[in-house]
């Protein structure tokens, strides 16, 4: 019969339509605006309405997610805070859109360069969120942030300086638990080798 294909298709559409209400009834109060609800609606067994009601609901961001970079500030055993960055310049050199400017600090007495940045700027309008700076930093000093709600009306604030870029180590650990655990294990190994050898 001519039209059987259309009828079958309409049957599939009708099933999707009915399912969207049925799944909402089945899920009850916990289907929307709860983290469990989002997990149920986004997994491979998802049925019914798929939409995440942003901004009231937000998808959890995976650890590897990369938006803009930030600089990690370590807390030493004596409580002193120190930027991990040594101003080696690898991130500035590896950055594909060249959006990182680093001014290496120098010792005021001798004028010799010291491994710290005097200034660090990132133009977030040019940053392409590729993650190379974080990938190739040898000191785990620059890492990728997860904040993507960056809309603003004024371009003037889009050059982030050192103050805007620094974040404590705890922030980094919270965003990247697995990577942080790996970093700490590597640091412990290096320390053990150093103190064992020395």
């Amino acid at each position: 019969m001519f039209g059987i294909g259309i009828l079958k298709g309409l049957g599939i559409t009708l099933r999707h339509f009915v399912e969207s209400y049925w799944e909402d009834l089945r899920g009850g109060r916990h289907r929307y605006f709860t983290p469990e609800g989002i997990t149920v609606r986004r997994g491979k067994d998802a049925r019914g309405i798929f939409t995440v009601q942003y901004p009231e609901e937000k998808l959890p961001v995976p650890e590897a997610f990369r938006v803009l970079p930030f600089l990690v500030v370590s807390t030493g055993t004596d409580g002193a805070e120190q930027l991990r960055c040594t101003a080696c310049g690898i991130c500035a050199r590896v950055c594909p859109p060249q959006c990182i400017w680093i001014e290496r600090a120098s010792d005021p007495a001798t004028g010799k360069p010291v491994p710290r940045p005097a200034a660090f700027s990132i133009d977030i309008d040019r940053c392409m969120n590729c993650g190379y700076c974080a990938e190739y930093c040898p000191f785990d000093a620059i890492r990728m942030d997860h904040r993507y709600e960056l809309a603003s009306r004024n371009r003037a604030g889009h050059r982030y300086n050192l103050n805007k870029l620094r974040q404590p180590e705890s922030y980094h650990a919270g965003l990247h638990p697995a990577a942080y655990a790996r970093e700490q294990a590597e640091r412990a190994q290096r320390e053990a080798r150093r103190t064992g050898a020395g």
Binding site: K8, H16, K44, D45, F50, C95, C130, Y132
Partner: protein
């Protein structure tokens, strides 16, 4: 008989270290191409591009000819002097050369004599200069190659050259320039058909579809000459998304180019990474470890599924089914993008392949998610999509017999991907010229013989099924081990030479022609964009059809403007 034997003394082997193929002077080029096509069976012109060698006062056109039958390649280079470069056009032998020769004229200034319509293609018609020449500097020029010295160790963004924005390219003065209302385009449009000039006023109408149009798959324009509702002739106009990708590629380091390749076909970033990384790995003679190869195949095939879901969805959207089938397909794609986000850090701009392997490994959880997605959900959903669409009478009325492209024309127009395979040519790079570990899996090339829009849609459904088959086998046989050959390097040491790294992307054969001279940045970087070259056949497919069919044909070619315009 090879080219050197057939034309002794005129055509010589390219003996430069790292190069291969033949060097053919311009006066022998047409004969060489005819010999390759008719006597030796090289019927497929995959890529036509140019390279600028100012030190030797030479612009070189590089041709990659392939044999559909066995996948063999012949590379031919034809040099011309930089002051007045003229080469014979190959459009009468290989119609697929038309747009590529226009691009070589536009960006490098190589003039092709007897080309039917030699106008600029990617840049606007009033542009002066040829940007890919080495002596042409862009308005935002800072230094010849990255990294720029101004960034470290005394980097201060306040010292940026501000006046760069004020200087228009090519010395153009905007105040004195008058637009020419596309005269050359419309003249070419009318020239291509046998309409009498006198009757033009009453019979034919020139209509522009786009560049702002919901169904042109991006900023793309079609100038159509219509007799009532019938298309008499048609010319695609592109370049509205041209972002100087190849010029930027010459300034980037080899490694720094990988994130830029994400942005070519922005729906299939991992496939683009794959092609580029293969080209440079060929130059470096670097081989990724086994685990990396298997993971690359898994990610590339997931990308193919995601791209075809989008393509089918938007074909249906263009036909008027609006967003219902599109969103059913895109829902599944969302789950694949969630996988990409967890693995690579980004849904679309994945930037995950590196020279010698991958950026990171995939852990057991991610592999389980992929396995669950492929085994438990996607197979059933593709069957459901087929049940929903393939038998639909409206789809059949609008797609069967529309956009007919017979087998010989598909090969002659250098069509690639589902466009080629729906015309009965079972040519898939993964089988014809296997790369990575594709030859270890049991799968079939999706090929149909209808040569119309309907069969292109069916080929895409078939390809999704085959991709799911490949992913299942790859997951079952995934070996352990490292995912990168050697240590992570941000400075790739690439020896001098040339390489053409190709992959079978979802849109077709995606190739990267990379020339290195030993420096940290490429000397020449060209993208063989399947969307761009597939459009060469569009006029052929649309002539004689109705204007409404133009949209269906465009949807079946499946173009993406990031790749078309680069």
């Amino acid at each position: 008989m090879n080219l050197g034997e057939r034309f002794p003394g005129r055509i010589t082997a390219d003996g430069r270290p790292g190069y291969s193929g033949w060097v053919c002077p311009p006066d022998a080029l047409a004969d060489a191409a005819r010999f390759l096509r008719d006597a030796e069976g090289f019927d497929y012109l995959s890529s036509l591009t140019g390279v600028d060698y100012p030190a030797e006062d030479r612009l070189e056109a590089v041709y990659h000819f392939y044999r559909i039958a066995d996948g063999r390649c012949e590379i031919v280079k034809s040099p011309a002097p930089r002051t007045d470069p003229v080469l014979p056009s190959l459009t009468n032998l290989f119609p697929g050369a038309e747009f590529q020769e226009r691009e070589a004229w536009d960006l490098l200034g190589i003039r092709f004599s007897d080309h039917p319509d030699l106008r600029r293609i990617l840049l606007w018609e009033g542009f002066s200069g040829h940007p890919l020449r080495k002596d042409w500097r862009e308005p935002l020029f800072e230094e010849e190659a990255k990294p720029f010295g101004s960034r470290w160790p005394a980097g201060d963004p306040a010292k940026e050259p501000a006046a760069a924005y004020a200087r228009p390219a090519g010395g153009l003065s905007p105040d004195g320039w008058e637009p020419d209302d596309d005269e050359a385009l419309y003249a070419a449009l009318e020239r291509g058909c046998d309409v009498q000039p006198g009757s033009l006023q009453t019979e034919c109408l020139t209509v522009n579809l786009g560049p702002q149009h919901p169904s042109t798959h991006g900023v793309f324009r079609v100038a159509a000459l219509l007799d009532g509702e019938t298309v008499v002739n048609l010319k695609p106009v592109m370049g509205y998304l041209h972002r100087c990708h190849e010029k930027i590629g010459e300034r980037n380091t080899f490694n720094g180019n990988i994130p830029f390749t994400d942005r070519l076909d922005y729906l299939t970033s991992l496939s683009n990474n794959f092609g580029y990384v293969r080209a440079v790995e060929t130059l470096m003679d670097l081989h990724p470890p086994e685990r990396a190869e298997y993971l690359r195949v898994i990610l590339a095939e997931l990308t193919r599924v995601a791209s075809h879901l989008w393509s089918i969805g938007f074909l249906l959207n263009d036909l008027g089914a609006f967003f219902t089938p599109a969103l059913y397909a895109i829902e599944e794609r969302e789950l694949i993008l969630d996988v990409f986000e967890a693995v690579t850090g980004s849904r679309m701009m994945c930037n995950f392949f590196r020279f010698g392997g991958l950026a990171r490994d995939l852990d057991a959880d991610m592999l389980e998610t992929i396995r669950g997605l492929v085994a438990d959900r996607l197979t059933g959903k593709v069957d459901q999509l087929e049940a929903y669409l393939t038998g639909n009478e409206i789809l059949k009325e609008r797609c069967v017999g529309v956009g007919y492209l017979p087998r010989e024309k598909a090969i002659a127009f250098s069509a690639a991907g589902p466009l080629l395979r729906a015309s009965g040519v079972a040519y898939d790079l993964r089988k014809a010229d296997p790369y990575s570990v594709y030859d270890r899996f049991d799968w079939d090339v999706a090929c149909r013989t209808g040569c119309d829009v309907y069969d292109r849609y069916r080929v895409r459904i078939d390809e999704i099924r085959q991709s799911l088959r490949i992913i299942r086998q790859a997951l079952d046989n995934l070996p352990g081990g490292p995912v990168l050959a050697g240590k992570p390097q941000y400075q790739a040491r690439v020896p001098a030479g040339e390489a053409f790294g190709r992959v079978e992307g979802p849109k077709g054969e995606l190739g990267f022609y990379v020339v290195s001279n030993g420096q940290p940045n490429p000397w020449r970087y060209h993208v063989r964009a399947p969307s761009f070259i597939n459009l060469t056949a569009m006029a052929e497919m649309c002539r004689g059809g109705k204007i409404a069919d133009v949209v269906a044909v465009l949807g079946s070619i499946d173009i993406i403007l990031g790749e078309t315009d680069r």
